[in-house]
Symmetry: none
Subunit: 401 residues, 2 copies
């Protein structure tokens, strides 16, 4: 029995409510001048109080030493582990822009690239054209109908875009056209099984059409395609946890991930206050809320230590509003660390607070990486966060006699 099957067999619906606040990229590294991380530098009286009442610890999103992307980081927090490994690159890219993928759609990641007169790739990223340029070129390619399949082309960022093939009987089992190096021609897309012949044919037609259309648009005069894939079959949070789950997230990637596991995505604004307001307005209608705070990760990626501190302080300031709703369980954590010192995601474990009437409090009275080290939850895999939250909400029955 896998963990998800175990949880499915013992979970039960109940009126209790869980709020999971994900401060993206929460974990940090100390600034040499002060020896304090972003979280330790931030003035966070409300988070500290919650830490004192609750139980704390540190989570590993994937495993020690592994730096997760946003998808594995979040899917682990939603309690989905190895399953996430089966998500194809094309689907991830579509999720990243919150594209409304249908179960039968095949998605592929596209790059605009530069080819010379001989058709050989000279720049796999077309000089990293602007997102505006990318959007304009995608519009030229979007909406084709080839062999009764509709081709939907959407810009992502810089030279990257998503192609979605929509039609009957499309099987994603084809290879990439991206040769992953320069000086050679893009590869023809070939089917890896007979069932995939139709998709391979259509995809090659699309590439040929794109080459014609883009001829005058140097440096973006060709496309490279990879990661042809369909939506994975993830059981929904409703199925596994019997939760009526809602997501409050202002960035497309996180709305897409939430949708993937069956959450209802609520409309919200871009600030922390907007998101907490959305929580308040919808609090009666769901029993699980995923609230995503993006600013902390963006600041970390920019190497902006002080801005990350300020985002954490904004969350702290808004926290009393959340607490006043009296959820049965509150979890505050991150999907991974994004230390400003590293200007990127990292492998460091992420601090977590779990508060409920039924948690066993520890002696931690401050929300920080170093204080969480002695927390009652210890150090544990992020995939166990949701089962723990469920237990604390008294939504799991006993396992075995």
């Amino acid at each position: 029995m896998s963990d998800l099957e175990l949880i499915k067999s013992i979970s039960q619906p109940s009126p209790s409510k869980i709020v999971l606040v994900v401060i993206d990229g929460l974990g940090g590294l100390p600034r040499p001048e002060t020896g304090k991380t972003e979280l330790e530098t931030a003035h966070t009286p409300n988070l500290d109080q919650l830490a004192a009442k609750g139980v704390c610890g540190l989570i590993d999103p994937v495993s020690p030493g592994i730096t997760p992307g946003s998808a594995p980081g979040h899917l682990a927090l939603f309690g989905y582990a190895s399953l996430t490994l089966t998500i194809g690159r094309g689907v991830l890219e579509a999720i990243g822009i919150d594209f409304d993928l249908q179960p039968e759609d095949v998605a592929a990641r596209g790059n605009f690239c530069t080819v010379d007169e001989a058709g050989l790739v000279v720049d796999r990223r077309a000089g990293r054209i602007s997102t505006e340029k990318c959007t304009e070129l995608c519009r030229l390619l979007d909406g084709l109908v080839l062999d009764e399949a509709k081709i939907l082309v959407s810009p992502v960022r810089d030279h990257r875009f998503v192609v979605v093939f929509r039609g009957e009987g499309l099987v994603a089992d084809v290879n990439d056209s991206d040769p992953q190096r320069i000086g050679v021609a893009p590869k023809s897309i070939t089917a890896l099984s007979r069932k995939a012949n139709r998709l391979a044919r259509i995809a090659n037609q699309f590439v040929a059409q794109a080459k014609t259309t883009l001829a005058g648009h140097h440096p973006a005069n060709m496309v490279l395609m990879r990661g042809f894939s369909k939506l994975p079959h993830l059981p929904s949070m409703g199925e596994i946890y019997k939760l009526k789950a809602a997501a409050i997230a202002s960035y497309p990637m996180y709305r897409g991930l939430a949708k993937l596991v069956g959450m209802k995505v609520l409309s919200t604004g871009t600030s922390v206050e907007d998101e907490f307001n959305t929580l308040k307005q919808n609090f009666a209608d769901y029993d699980f809320f995923f609230v995503h705070i993006k600013g902390s990760d963006a600041a970390g990626e920019d190497g902006d230590f002080d801005r990350k501190v300020r985002v954490i302080e904004q969350v702290d300031k808004a926290l009393p509003e959340l607490i006043s709703l009296k959820p049965d369980v509150i979890v505050v954590t991150g999907d991974h660390s994004t230390p400003a010192m590293l200007k990127g995601h990292s492998w460091h474990p992420v601090p977590i607070i779990l508060y409920s009437k039924w948690c066993r409090p520890d002696r931690v009275s401050e929300f920080s990486e170093s204080a969480c080290l002695s927390g009652g939850l210890g150090r544990f895999p992020a995939t166990e966060v949701l089962p723990l939250a469920m237990a604390n909400a008294l939504k799991l029955t006993k396992f075995g006699a």
Copy 2:
């Protein structure tokens, strides 16, 4: 290589002795007035001294958030993990009353229930008749011989009983008769494979016979059957650990579980002193002892914080007698938490002391949930307790060259 296979390949017999004391439901939650758990409230000078000399930590019986029943909790402590998932409900019920199941027996759980004149179930538990009444009715059904198979019927508690089918060639692969809801008739028992035809036929004959016999015993005028199963194939502790293992437990469930993994079950009394006396008398004859203290769990289930405190203090008082026997390894822990505040089993991790001449002591000088948090064993799965005890008894050789 599974963990059990690894252990089997490196374990060796030796004269050293291990005593595992399981204080059932040991872990607790703080009483709001004092902020202290049951264990933290109890006066335990001897346990504290053992904690100071030994190494401490916290164990997860199954995994974080999962509340275990007694069977998964104990089998994890005996070092058996996922295998426990294969134990059928009927077998567990038979183990729970320490029924002497034979390898070829098929056991099923039975409920007395109420049916109306049309034969439809109106109460799946027959108004929860008393255990005395249940015992009386079981006597009426016990001992039938149907198609050369003997039917043994034993009371469990309230409306619950166990039916054991003993005969040649009985295969347990049949469905339940319990429809799991009222307003419908009990289901006919059908074979899920051809080999199970014989059992299905006999079980249906038993149900028909029971209906006739119980006709005048409203509300207990019918039976429902589920969880037809045989003993799982668990390798014994002798095989895996090369231990000559004995169990000292006053409750049937724990004797049954010990028997399942090949321990010799010793006769003992019901008090902590009785059990420690049994240990003393048999100390020369075995090299592993499982000593089970039930009172703590019962008190926790009753929500009786003070009684649970007193049971823990009884163990503490008896401990010097155990220590005077000079076992090479002493482990004191629980199979799960049963906080009096929750009146039931819970998911919270369980404190553990491991003492041996070869442990690496930590700075913990008090046996409590909060002190064990900083223990040298950290937080770890309960299935690793026995390998650790074996290592400390110098009963495991090096793994690999």
